[in-house]
Amino acid sequence: MTGSEGLDHQVQAIGNDEDVVRVRQLVRTVAVAAKLSLVDQTKVVTAASELARNTLVYGGGGEAAVSTVDNGVRRGVRVVFSDSGPGIADIDLALTDGYTSGGGLGLGLSGARRLVDEFELDTAVGAGTTVAVVKWAR
């Protein structure tokens, strides 16, 4: 990950449905401040909504850290979701469209990845999951 981070680093706990809404609102605010276009704001907020719900439903809750990033040329928004849940055993499978271990559509992780510019997944069975995404202003 390039660029400076964290002048406006903000953390939102994810413990219930309302927190998922709060994550969306926080990401929207930061995306507007980073001057993302309306379509890019919509994409990153949608991705954040999917990932926040994953953190809640599959990770048993956790947090989202939202910050502005700057690579010298462009600004962007970075969101890091972390939980200390069961982790993901098969990452490739988890990233496959339509695969779900729960009752969802199986689009959360794979769909979120398509909506952002950078996507990093760090997980191990029993050691929780961290997903970091970045969306840059164009």
Partner: protein
């Protein structure tokens, strides 16, 4: 928890979602709407999502489920007012709003429902009488 209001206008139920819905609120709407269709006998449902600045997979799935429930209860659902940025994002997310009819705005949605009301009845009668002759 807040509930999404359901208005009855003639023979149509109009739902205008104006807030950033929590998941539970979307599920409540699903239940409330099913009940209102049965209570009113309305044949059409219009869901106005002008106020939604995102539709994620959960809301998308809820809209599909609402359309399916309505269909089983003999009502047609039309989703109207989707913002262009939302449409672009939905497609990229990979969500196909199965079974959902859309229109640009409430007015077009009402026109669509009015247009469909008559032919549907004739089709239904036709199908009942001649199940083998439905394909041209």
């Amino acid at each position: 928890m807040e509930r999404v209001p359901i208005l009855k206008i003639g023979s149509v139920l109009l739902v205008s979602i104006q807030v950033d819905m929590q998941d539970q609120m979307a599920l409540q709407l699903q239940e409330d709407l099913g009940q209102r269709i049965v209570d009113t006998g309305c044949k059409g449902v219009i869901i106005d999502i002008t106020g939604l600045d995102i539709v994620d997979s959960f809301v998308g799935r809820t809209l599909s489920t609402i359309a399916s429930i309505s269909k089983v209860l003999d009502a047609e659902t039309i989703v109207v007012g989707m913002r262009p940025a939302v449409a672009i994002t939905l497609v990229e997310l990979g969500l196909s709003l199965n079974g959902i009819r859309t229109a640009l705005n409430v007015e077009r949605g009402l026109e669509l429902l009015a247009r469909n009301a008559e032919p549907d009845t004739i089709d239904d009668l036709y199908l009942l009488g001649n199940p083998e002759t439905t394909s041209p």
